[in-house]
Symmetry: C2
Subunit: 516 residues, 2 copies
């Protein structure tokens, strides 16, 4: 009897074997990022940064379409701004990079030290987020109801000192966009908060092909100072949740601290209601853990820096010229086409090196379609196509499909669109299969997350929405199981039954999960 053929995967670590190690290997082998030698900071390499550029471009279009205007605010925030915030914000976070000097001098031993003569009168903080400094600007810009709503956004780097870092997911410096808006009243601000949330939800499910649950965070998980915090939550392949974007309704607390007020139509001064919302390079971590497989990354075509790579099988002979001409013709025909609303992005990879090595490098990078073209293909008007999401044949060989060139050209964009859809469908099926329902006691919950459960996923349950000390008690019970409440999904039907934590009637649906 024949053994089933064994696939020889491109990575040495499998998801099943060691998910955390696999994640690091994908990032290294796809050449997305690496440790920089600077504590907690990474170098984002061209393939990783190219994905971020795609995310920026598509998200920025959405932000602008909503009438939000991009600005740029200072990297440094005076210490006193935070003192003000610390007063009105419980749970104010203090791990930040503090600038105390503005000059270096020689230490007399060939080294350099901060110049004691150049100590700043007031230390500067490297922005961890920009509510305070943008609030100060808004206080200058808003005078009358005519100035509202004030809708601003910035693309920037921010710094939060982290003791334990993981590339893309938690780094001391990261890249993000932060939207900050001011409104005349609660309803307008809440509408904006939910508009941003829906923008993120649609962006995750669309370009990222990453299914998410949009909902409200419980009060213990709110952004410090926020009245309500909403998130999108994605499930990674190890069943853990990843918070991939947040949107906050800040009430009038920040406006009060910063003095953002306006003269209303009746001629009276009133405080603005503000919001803030952001997504970051963390999304790339989500894409890796949603779509990656044991052969590396798989990038959804909409955010792939290159959607199709053409690999000519060069042999250093006279025939190479005809082969390259054929490939160039193919490239030109492809870039004239549009897929997913944009011109197709195609790279003809002419670099030196063995074709199979180059193939596996692109497989690990997750480019959606790879075309390998040999001299015989060129002569016969053929292409050999490898879909990254259908990488292996049953006989464990790479699933190249030979096709007539014109036939391929006629269906290339449909193929890209199909990959985008397929990745989303695959992730949705997996996510949905890993949501456990019917958990009606703490014991049942503990059983889901027992030590012998490898990737236990999420539990969806109805709870009584306790607050204050009662909530703290629930959070403590969950913490003992290494669990957190992710969010209350938008528009969920009211649950029946009783709350497994309090025994009271359930009034609201929540997701409970382990999380990044």
């Amino acid at each position: 009897m024949n053994q089933p053929a064994k696939i020889k995967h491109a990575l040495t670590t499998t998801r099943e074997g060691d998910f955390a190690q696999w994640y690091q290997e994908v990032i290294a082998e796809a050449e997305m990022a690496e440790e920089s030698g600077v504590r907690g900071c990474m170098v984002i390499k061209p393939w990783g940064y190219g994905i971020w550029e795609r995310i920026q471009k598509l998200m920025d279009e959405q932000i602008k379409a909503a009438g939000v205007e991009n600005c740029y605010f200072p990297l440094f925030i005076p210490l006193s701004y935070f003192a003000k915030e610390a007063e009105h914000v419980e749970g104010f976070a203090k791990e930040m990079a503090v600038v105390t000097h503005h000059r270096l001098i020689g230490d007399g031993k060939g080294g350099l030290v901060p110049d004691p003569e150049a100590k700043l009168e007031e230390p500067l903080i490297v922005r961890p987020t920009s509510e305070t400094v943008i609030g100060a600007a808004m206080a200058r810009w808003v005078q009358s109801w005519r100035d509202l709503p004030l809708l601003t956004n910035q693309w920037a780097n921010v710094v939060r000192w982290e003791m334990r870092t993981r590339m893309f997911l938690r780094t001391s410096e990261f890249l993000w966009q932060e939207g900050h808006t001011a409104h005349a009243n609660r309803d307008d601000a809440m509408e904006e908060t939910l508009r941003a949330l829906e923008m993120y939800r649609a962006f995750a499910e669309g370009p990222l092909a990453m299914p998410v649950i949009a909902g409200e965070k419980p009060e213990n998980e709110r952004f410090p100072g926020a009245v309500a915090t909403y998130s999108i939550e994605a499930m990674m392949q190890d069943g853990k949740a990843l918070q991939a974007g947040t949107s906050h309704y800040l009430g009038t607390g920040f406006a009060s601290a910063a003095g953002i007020q306006y003269q209303n139509k009746e001629g009276q001064q009133a405080l603005c209601h503000t919001t803030s919302w952001g997504v970051s390079t963390r999304m790339i971590g989500g894409v890796i853990m949603t779509h990656g497989d044991d052969d590396g990354l798989r990038v959804p075509p909409q955010i792939a820096p290159q959607q199709i790579v053409i690999l000519p099988m060069l042999r250093d002979t006279d025939e190479d010229e005809a082969l390259l001409a054929y490939c160039e013709e193919l490239r030109k025909a492809l870039v004239k086409q549009s897929a997913l609303g944009e011109p197709v992005r195609v790279l003809l990879d002419k670099r030196p090196g063995k074709a199979t090595q180059k193939r596996w490098a692109w497989v690990k990078k997750g480019v959606p379609l790879i075309l390998e073209i040999g001299g015989r293909d060129a002569a016969g008007g053929q292409v050999s196509v490898l879909r990254r999401d259908r990488l292996w044949r049953e006989d464990a060989k790479p699933n190249f499909v030979g096709q007539d060139k014109d036939a391929f050209l006629g269906q290339a964009t449909a193929e890209l669109e199909d990959i985008q859809r397929s990745l989303h469908a695959e992730a949705t099926v997996r996510r949905d299969a890993q949501i456990v329902r019917g958990v009606d006691s703490l014991d049942a919950l503990a059983k889901v997350y027992a030590d012998d459960q490898k990737f236990p996923g999420w539990v969806e349950l109805g709870w009584s929405r306790p607050t204050g000390a009662a909530l703290d008690a629930v959070v403590a019970k969950l913490k003992a199981l290494k669990l957190t409440i992710r969010n209350t999904p938008m528009n969920a039907a009211k649950p029946t039954g009783t709350c497994p934590f309090t025994g009271e009637p359930a009034v609201e649906t929540i997701y409970v999960a382990r999380a990044y």
Copy 2:
């Protein structure tokens, strides 16, 4: 006899009256930027940031077209990296922001202070430029001649502590791109250095409509550690020079300090030759001082966030609806067209407010074409067009030109292209008229820059290219006249005559000027 009609300009300060004050007023009135309340840092407002986004987009296309790949490197650079640089670089700059702590704690009096327990073992420097940290990455990435050239770029914020700041021209934090490349030999690196220089020259003369002289800086003006520094120099309307971009050939010095070496085809280890090149938000200051007039900014259409603004003259009557429909139809017809290689950018400004106030706001922002549309225009199929570069009629009234709508639609893109050309031509004529030649002595030079000369421009002269101490003497003489050598233009004919500084035969042409 009639007096000639007197124009009532939109700004209160004229260029002639007080150029520095005029510059600040343009920035304020065009709502481009403002002081942030954080020392040396500005807030870039939507119109200013929109111009930067245009610059980024167009420049990034050029950078990518040259095969350079975008990356992102850490904001923080460990102090020891600079100690290494200080050793090999004479003239190492020391004014930098130094991070010494990573946490804040309460001071017991309601304030916050850096936590003494959270002092960093090694201080971190906020990047003033990234040669050192990118060099460390290059040392990891380059192994063999096959890895060369290595062409990287990043778009980032950088910080250089400045005592005297001026918005866009000199701020402690600014935005820029920095290209960093490594090559196998001097020729390849020099070719890249000059490619970047030419990219900047063409970019300034093209999208920015700003004439520049591309050339090599004298040795005293080289980037510390560089073997050769090249720049593009633009002339502002006050005759001063603005260095608007630089490109450096760094030889093997940085490679040696960072350990960037490769195995050549003969199997031997060799040091790389590196380059770096950058342009920044400073370019926006150059655009203001090249194209601004006494009515505010004039933005070249290629970098204008909006190229055409449609202003309906709303009257809060039933007729507004038909007027808005007419304007929307106009907008739709315009955005379908292409000018200067891109879809036309059009804003229909429906915000509340008086039409004339809104008109002058857009004039001060410098939008290339303003269309004012009244009810009668809508009924009669007309438009009233104001070209920002032909703002006033001889009778001192705004130069609105009434036109048939279809006639305007047929020529709108040609009009935008003509404005782009005209701004460049106007600036070139002015620049060329302010270059003084035939200066053959230090006395003659001093006369050009005598106190009674308002905007004396540049002097082009032949010099003997002294080096070392002889050059220092020349620099000192120039400094006494507040002058600097800008650059030696590329491909200039060899001059005749004698050097006004040394009396020796002139061997090279240079530009001498006051500068920002």
